[in-house]
Amino acid sequence: MSKVYIALQDNDESRYIVEAIEEDNPEVTVIHMPAMIRIENEGRLTVNRETVEEKMGRDWDVQELHVNLITLGGNVEEDDDSLSLHWNE
Amino acid sequence: MAVKAITPDYKGEVLDKVENFGGNQVVYVGWDHHLMFCAPFAFPLPPEMPFEALRTQVMPETFSLHPEFAEIDWDQVSWKLDGEDFVPQADVALKDQGIGHKSVLRFNTPDLKGYQGAGV
C-alpha cells in the first residue's frame, strides 16, 4: 500500500490539526521541515472535525483546512464531519 | 495526423526554413566528450564557405577557450556529419560536401580526455 500525505503550514492552527490527526491515526509519521509539517501514513489518513474542535476548543469547519493546507497526496473524500485521503492500491 | 487541430488540414509555418536566414544556413558543431561548453554551438554560415574556413576561423572563436583546443592534432580527429562518419574536404564548400541547413558536425579527439580527464 502506498503512502498518503498531507502538508500544513507550521502555525498555531495547524498544530491543533496535527494533534488531532495523530490522535485519530496513531500510525502516522509527522515530519517537521522549515515552515511546514508533513504527515504521511500507509494507505489512509483522516482528519475528523470533532477531534479538531476538541483540540481547538471552538467550532471548526472541515473546509477551513484549506487555509493552512500546502499539499496532499491521495484520493480525497470530504463531508461535513471529516476529510480523508486514501489510495486504492 | 500531423497535429490534433480543430481546423481541418492545419499547417504550421516553418519558422526555421533556410530562406529566413538571409543567405546563411545554420550549422551546429559539437566536440564529443568536452562539456566545458555546455552544448554544441550554432553558427549561421554561408553555404559556400569552405570547410577550412569553418575549422580555422569560425570554430576557434568559440572553442579556443578550452585549454586542450590548441593541442588538437587535426589529422587525428574523426568527424561525424548528421550521425554518419565523415571525412571533410578542406577546400570544398560546406554545401558541396553535404553540410546543409541544420546539419550537425561532431568531432572526436580520442587522445584528449577533457580537463582533468573528466570529459570537461
Binding site: A7, E89 | G12, F37, P40, F41, Q116
Partner: protein, 500 residues
Amino acid sequence: MAAKKLNIKDKYRLLTRDLDWEYSYADRKEAFPYEDFEGIKITDWSKWEDPFRLTMDTYWKYQAEKEKKLYAIFDAFAQNNAHMNVSDPRYVNAIKIFLTGVSPLEYQAYQGFAHTGRQFGGVGARVACQMQSLDELRHVQTQIHAMSHFNKFFDGFQEYSHMHDRVWYLSVPKSFFNDARTAGPFEFMIAIGFSFEYVLTNLLFVPFMSGAAHNGDMATVTFGFSAQSDEARHMTLGLEVIKFLLEQHEDNVEIVQKWIDKWFWRGSRLLTIVAMMMDYMLPNKVMSWKEAWEVYFEEAGGALFKDLARYGIRMPKYSEIIEKEKEHISHQAWWTFYTHGHAAGFHTWIPTDEELDWLSEKYPETFDKYYRPRWELAKEMEAKGERFYTKGLPQLCTTCQIPMLFTEMDDPTQTSYRDTTYNGERYHFCSDGCKDIFEDEPEKFVQSWLPVHQIFQGNCGGPDVGDILSDFYHMNVGTDNMDMKGSPDELRWKQWKGVA
C-alpha cells in the same frame, strides 16, 4: 428560528449542478465546439465528482482569509526591511528567476483555465475550472506584490513580463504553457491540471518554498504556501479529471496515456531550472533536488500511478531515464547559466567550497566524477582574471527549447543528440522524449520560436549580443547580468551590512 444549515453535499448540488441549464434554442455542439476534436468521448457529464465540493460562497470566504493573512505578512516584511534578513544576497537571484519564469506562467494558467472551463459541457468541471482560473490570477498578483519589495533593493526585477516574452531561457517556460494552451481543453487539463499540478508543482512550491523559509525569505515562503493551499484543490481537480476521463470511455485510455507521456516528459524538462535553484541557489540547504525528486516524484507519483493502474494507465514513458537524470540535471543547468552569465538576467557564481562538498555528499555517484572538475576549471580561470563566459550561441532542442545540455545517461560526458526529418527539414532534440513529442505533432512544433535561430534571422535586433540584451531583452547590461562577485547587488549588500 435559526436558518437550517445545508450540508456540504446539498449545498454543492444547489450551487453548482443546479446552475446549469438545458439548451432550448441553441445547438449544444455549437455551444461547446471544442469538446470532440481531441477524440475524447464523454457519455455522461453528471458522473463528474468534485471531491472538495467547494461552492463559490465558501471559495470567496476562504480565499479572502488567505489574502488577509498573506498581505499582513507582506506589510510586516516591507515595514521591517526583511530583505535584509535573507541568508545571502545570492539567494535573491532565485527569486528573479521565479518572477521572470514562473509568475507569468500563473498568468498563462489563469487564461488557460478560463478558456478550458468555458469549453466543458459539464457544470461541475466548469465551476472547478473557474475557481482555478481565479486562483491563478491571485497567484500572479500576490507574487508581483511580494517581489515588488525586492525590486526596490535588487537589480533584475524591473522588466519581468517583457523578459518572459523575449529572453532566450524564458522561452522554455513560455513555450511549455503555449503548447498546453493551444491544445484542446482535455489535453490542457491532463497537461496542467494533472501532470503539472499533481506531481510537478509540488517540487517548486513545497521543498523550494521550505528552502525560501530556511533562507530568511518570509515573503516568498508565504506567497508560495498560500498559492500552494490552492494547489491542493487543483491537485484533486487534476486527479478527478483523469479518473473521470478514464471511466467515461475505454477509448480515452490510450489518448490520456499519450498525454501523460508527453506532459510528464515536458514537465521534467521544465523543472530542470527548479533543480538548479534548489541545489545551487539556496545558500541554506533543506534537501537536494535528488531527495526532493524521490519524495515528490518517485514516491508520490509512484503511488498515484499504482492507483491508476486499474484503468490501464502505466508510469509515464521514459520514467527510467528521468530517474537517472535526477543525478545530473541540476549540475548541467547551473553550469549552463554560469557559462552564459553574461546573457542571464540574474547573477551566477562558483559554488563555495562548502557548497561543493555538500554537492559531493548529496550526489556521491556523479558530482566528483563529472561536475566538480568543471568548477575546478572555472576557479582556475577566475583566479587568472579570466572568468569563463562562453562565446557564441548554443544549439537548442526544438521541443523543450533548452540548450542541448543534457547528456546520455549511460555516457554522461556525451551530449545527447536526437534528430528527425519532416518535409525535408531537419529538426534536433535533446532526448527521445522531446523527439517523440515533435513526431507526434510536427505541424505544431515546426513553429517553435527558437531564440537562437530568431537572433540569426535578425528578429531580435543586434547583431551584437550586448545590443540584443539591452535593446531587445531590456536587461541593464553590466548591472542585471554577469557574476555575483563585484555586482551592484553584492556591493549594496555589503554597504548595508557594513562590510564594504
